[in-house]
Every structure is written in C-alpha cells, then in structure tokens.
Symmetry: C2
Subunit: 428 residues, 2 copies
C-alpha cells in the first residue's frame, strides 16, 4: 500500500491512489487528440469540460470556489484564522498538442487529493489551504506561457498585450475567453493581480519531466531553483519561386535559412559548455508550403533555457548574430527577431524548503535537492509568495508526449509530501 | 497593337488581348487567398467555379464540350475531316497556395482566344482543334502532379493509387471528386485513358517561369525538351520530449535531422556541377509543433529536377545516403524515404517544332529553342502524341507567387503563335 512510508513507519496520511488514477484517466478523456495522447488547449471545449470537472471535485470536498476574470480557479478550505495569508498549491490542466496526462494534472488532482487526505485525517487548518488551477500554463494558443500566474503576479505588460493578442486563427484573447464563458472587460484584468500578502506560501507538486529521480531511485525531489526560460520568434523572407524554373544561384530560399538557424541554435547551446543550457526549435513553418515552390517565408520559434541567466542571454545573442549572418549569406530578409519573453530564474524560499525537508523526513522518504529545468507557474508565484516545488519521478523523464507516465506509488508519495508540507505551514 | 508582328508585317490573326486580360483577372477572383495571390486547389469550391467559367467560354465559342471521369475538360471545334486525329492544346487552371494568375491559365484562356482568333479570321479546320483543361496539374491536394494528363496517358499505376489516395484531411480522392460533382466508379478511371491516335499533335502555351526570354528580349521560346522531375517524401522520428527538461546529450531531435537533410539536398545539387540540376525542400513539417516540445517527428517533401535523368537520379541517391547517415548520427528513425515519382524527361516532336518555327517566321517573331525546367501536362501528353510547347516571357522569371506577370503583348504573341501552329497542323 502506497500510504506506508519507507522504513515501515505507518502514516496517518492515507492517499487513495486508485481514486487519483481514476480522476487522471477521466480528465485525460477530455482531449482533442486520440488516447493515449492528450490535447487540451486554452478555452477550447475540452478545456471548458476539464474546468467543470475540477470545480466539481472542489465542491465535493466542500471547498469554497472562486474564478477570476481569465479563469484561474481557486478552491479554498477556510482555516480557523482566515485573516492570515493562506497556504496555496496548484498547477495546470491545459496540455500541448499530442502530449500526456500527468504534466500539470498531478499538481491539480494531487493537490485536491492532499486536501482530501488531510480532511480524512481529521486535520484542522489554521491558515486557510487553497488549491489553484492556473489558466494556460502552456503557451500553445496565444504564445504566452504561464498566462494565469504571470497575470496574478501583477504583469501590467501582460494586461496591455492581452487586449490585442490573437491566436493563429485570428481569434482574439477576449473573444476566446468569451467562448469559454469568461466575459472579460478590460478593467477586469487588473483584478486578477494578487497582493504580496495573499499567500504565506505556495507549493507546486509536479512530475520531474527529467530522468534523474528515476535513474537514481529517489522518490522525491525538492526544487531549490527554476531555470530561466526565454522564447524567440524569427521570420525570414526571400523571393520564393518555382522549384523547377529558378536555378540554384538565383535562389534566396527562406526555408534553408531557417534550417541553418535551427542548427545554429544547437551549435551555440552546445558551445556554452554547460550541461544546463538547452535550446530547441519546436516550431518551423514554411510558406507557401508546396513541394514545387521554393519557400518564400519561414517562421521559427526558439526556446532557450538555463539555470544561469547570463549564460542563457549569451546564447540568445549568438543566435541573433547567426540569424543576421544567415540573412546576409543567403540574401534573405530577417523580417523579425523578437524576444517574446526572457524571464529571470526563481529561487525557492528557505522556509518552504525547510517545511518540505521536514515532511520528507517525517514520511521517511529519501529526497534530492534539485533544479527545475522546465518552468512552471511557480516561477511567477515566486514573485508574490515564498515558493517551493515537489518533484516525483516519471518514466524515462518523458514529458510532452503520450508516453509520459508516473506510477501510483510515486504520486501517492508526492501527495503525502504536499499534504504534510501544507499542514505544517498552515499551523505556522 | 499587339497583333502586328515584328518587322511591320500585318497579320490576319487579331488577338483581343484586352478580353484575354479581363478573363485572366476574372478567373483569378476564384481564389481561396486574397488578391493578388491565387489559391485554387483541386475540387475545391473555387476550382468548381473556375471549371464552370471555362466551360462557359467553350460553349460561347460553339465548341462541343465533354468532361471525363476525373474532370479533364475538352472543347472541340470539329474539323471537316472529323475522323482524323485532332490537333490539341491546353493547360491547367489549378493554382498552388498563394501563387499567381498566369501559370497554366495563359495556356487555357490563351488557347480559347486562339480558337476565337481563328474563327474570326474565317479559318476552317480540316483536323479538329481541341482545347483541354487538365485536372490537377499541381500536386497540392493529393501529392500527384499532372493527375489528369498522367491518367490520359494511360497510367495503370495511377488508377490503382487513386482508389486509395487521401488528402491531408483524410478525404479520399473519390469523395473529393464527388463533392465537385464527379461521381467516379472505379471502372470509370480506365475510360480516361486516350488512344495513341487520338491526337495528331499536342501544343501547350505557357509562361516561361524562368528569366531567360525576358533577359534576352526574345518574345517566343520553342521548347525542345522538358526536364525530368522527381519527388520524394521523408519522415524522421525521435523521442521528442520537454524542451526544458531533456538535456542536449539525451536528445534525438527529428526537427534538426530534417534541417540537416534540407541543407544536404542543396549541397548534393550544387555538387552535381551542372546549372541544370535543381533541388528544393518546399515542405518541412514538425510534430507536435509546439515551442516547448522537442520535435518527435518531421516530414519533408523534396523536389529534384534535371534535364539529364541519370544526373538527377545520382542526386536522389546521395540524398538517400544522407538521410540514412543523419538518422544514424542523430539516433532518429528514418521511417520513410519514398520516391513518389521519378518521371523520365520528354522531347518535343520534330514535326511540331517545325510547325512552331514556321509560325514564328510567318509572324516575324524572334524565337529561341530552349529547355523547360518546369514540367507540364505536356510531359505526359508526349507519351501519347507528338508534343511541343510555346513559351512567352514573364516578369523576372517569377512563378508560383503573387508577383507572377506576363504582359498583354507577350500573351498576344503567344496566342498568335499557338493559333498559327494549330492551323498549320490542322491542314496536314
Ligand atoms: Mn507542460
Ligand atoms: Mn507543467
Ligand atoms: Mn505550376
Ligand atoms: Mn503550369
């Protein structure tokens, strides 16, 4: 039974991991791509179904439920000293195209199970406990990652850009929200901002999305810092033309410029010399996209991350220089080289790390202090609250694809860790 | 007036080039992308509108109109010796996404104007004259170029593949044809085949799609051979994963494999040492296509052409070897390397070249004997009929993009050439 800690010590925190697995599987059925893949994009019908599902569980647990203007969902178990800052947890349930069912979801359904565990154990919170389902952690639809938490953390820049943001089908953010049942008036967006004293602590439970815990056989990761992500959009333009008729010396092929830049991203990342630097070209599109047409335009989206902000920014500068060089050599125009976001890294708070280490020891769970290379809503929650994260192992480190998997035992350990950490902080 | 040949000799063949331009502009309005671009894909609503428009002009000219099972449209001016093989001309009106309004269209509307010119001049054909609008010269929808002419030329292989071919939205060829009003029974496809004696000659009028005639100031090109096209589909597959969490040494990025192969195509083409070898990656798609996901799959479509079949096939072999090498180096699977078509080049028939040269001299038009580097329905008509092609200059050699342009004067010269060549062959 997964509710027995290692070392044979019985714990009063009995996780119903079968129920948790059932909920994960049920949520995965709200998908726009066939199982085992999951596709759940912001404000789509499936996203709306998932939101209804999460609110349903919150209500079953007797939590008081509220939603803000953009659809961040809050379920609160009011503590005996309700005027104190709450202890919050949460994650996301949106899923990029053809991904898996654990990313984000473990941190939402697992958090609700942690509340349920505490309720069943007879625990009475002093500080209120709150579960948050964040809107659009993934950048899929509007190119903005951690939309909900970024806004909660008070980004005025985001308020302004949301007023004019459109998706790839030219649907505005406001219209998309409306179709999901959120009627947004421009002044509402500021109401999403949270005060610095709203939360005493924020803890996110998440699969590692990397192979380390599984490889080392350690059940729990305690995150000390979140790597700093940056994303860049690039557009090249050339003359295009007929694939048969335009001879090679007369070409300025925007597609080959994009191919060169993609390989240059890899080269500059590897040249950083650090294992912690990663760079990815996840999007590369050609226009017009016909076999007998030389590409006249290309569009790339590049993701660069590091735990060292300066080293990451050096890579971005080199990629920019390569884009300029390629545009000269291939006589294509560099129409755009736009840094969409370039966030600083975040450190976990010592007080939250202490609480997590205390919980791990209480539960007899071995743990590893580690870095999060993927970013999370916690990156933005750290701006307004002491923050910490709990990682659990996942199969081969797979994430963002259908093979993503975490065992019931590992999830139960994570839920126990989260429950005990929250309980401890609630009483401080 | 464009109906005066060079050298000041008056000609009885008076081309109404304003009317021709009006028709070209009107046809361009049937498009799924905004002007000045044209997008007209096989069996789409716009394609159906264009078909109706062409049949309308044929009927106005008193031609007897027939359509075959896949929608090749024939308008015949019956000659005094109707039992003889006819003299045919024609081209296509389908247009790849975001292309221009002259490719193909000049050879259909120009052919109808040539018929009109001959009618107005009082000419009486002995052999029947026939204008053909071919179905789907462009491979856009089903990946099959020159679908209509390839089938007319008797490809049993194409009959079999059309029964199971689907487009990118999984719509079958048969269902797509049905939606455009062509109900195809499998046995009908063989009825599209034409006999070897159906035509005494076939001549296609087309913009050059290259810069030579414009640069040299020569109004007419007489095509002696059509370069041999080949097209290839390639799929790579890797493990994908999260763009933040999977470290660089653990990656096998299918997108970077595609980028390397695209650059390898260019390298092998340039290494052939011949100006006549061209290679293009017009399609490069990544899956899942999210900024924070390492591509787990990539799909490329490659076009390689040459006037020398062996040299072209050598390039294809080298590209295949590169694909295998890249898959090994990057530890991705080469799921597919499929040669979709690998057609032999075609030579124009001496008798048709003679008739075209005679017409040019009669009209006082300077001409150049040249190669067609783009392929055309003529490539397949050459399998069942003596074939020839007439080229006219186009602006900067542009084609397959909105800037594609041919002057009214150059089109009028082309129409006169076509009319006189057909008239001469009709009386042989
Ligand atoms: Mn994710
Ligand atoms: Mn996540
Ligand atoms: Mn074309
Ligand atoms: Mn054409």
């Amino acid at each position: 039974a997964s509710d027995d800690g290692e070392g044979g010590r019985a714990s009063p925190l009995r996780v119903d991991s079968d129920s948790l697995q059932r909920q994960i599987d049920e949520l995965a059925s709200f998908s726009d791509s066939p199982a085992p893949s999951v596709t759940r994009v912001l404000y789509s019908d499936k996203d709306v179904q998932a939101r209804r599902y999460i609110k349903g569980i919150m209500k079953q647990l007797g939590l008081s439920v509220r939603e803000d203007a953009v659809g961040n969902i809050f379920g609160r178990w009011v503590g005996s000293e309700a005027e104190l800052g709450a202890v919050a947890t949460g994650s996301h349930v949106d899923a990029i195209p053809f991904s898996g069912k654990y990313d984000g979801v473990v941190g939402v359904l697992g958090a609700l199970e942690a509340i349920s565990v505490l309720q069943r154990s007879g625990f009475q919170p002093k500080r209120s406990l709150e579960v948050i389902m964040f809107t659009s952690e993934e950048p899929t639809r509007f190119g903005i990652s951690c939309l909900g938490s970024r806004l909660m953390a008070g980004s005025e820049e985001l308020v302004q850009s949301l007023k004019r943001t459109v998706d790839n089908h030219n649907v505005s953010f406001v219209d998309a929200a409306d179709s999901a049942g959120y009627k947004i008036h421009p002044e509402d967006l500021h109401n999403v901002f949270l005060n610095q004293d709203a939360y005493f602590a924020f803890i996110e439970l998440h699969i590692e999305q990397g192979p380390i815990l599984e490889k080392e056989g350690i059940p729990i990761g305690i995150v000390t810092a979140i790597a700093a992500p940056a994303s860049i959009k690039v557009e090249f333009e050339g003359n295009g033309g007929h694939a048969g008729a335009v001879l090679m010396p007369a070409r300025n092929d925007a597609g080959l410029a994009a191919a060169e830049l993609a390989l240059a991203v890899e080269k500059h990342v590897l040249e950083s010399g650090s294992i912690d630097t990663v760079g990815t070209v996840g999007i590369l599109q050609l226009h017009p996209g016909a076999i007998n047409s030389i590409p006249s335009k290309s569009h790339l989206e590049i993701d660069v991350r590091d735990i060292d902000e300066k080293r990451r920014n050096d890579v971005i500068e080199k990629v920019h220089k390569s884009a300029i060089d390629i545009s000269k050599t291939r006589r294509v125009d560099l129409l755009e080289f736009k840094i969409i976001n370039q966030d600083p890294p975040a450190l976990s708070d010592k007080s939250v790390i202490n609480a997590m280490e205390f919980a791990a020891k209480q539960l007899g769970l071995e743990y590893k202090l580690m870095i999060s290379r993927a970013y999370h809503d916690s990156l933005f929650m750290a701006r307004i609250s002491p923050m910490g994260m709990i990682f659990i192992p996942c199969y081969k480190g797979y994430s963002h694809k259908p093979e993503e998997y975490a065992s019931q035992e590992d999830m139960a350990n994570g839920v126990q860790m989260l429950a005990l950490t929250m309980a401890k902080l609630s009483l401080e």
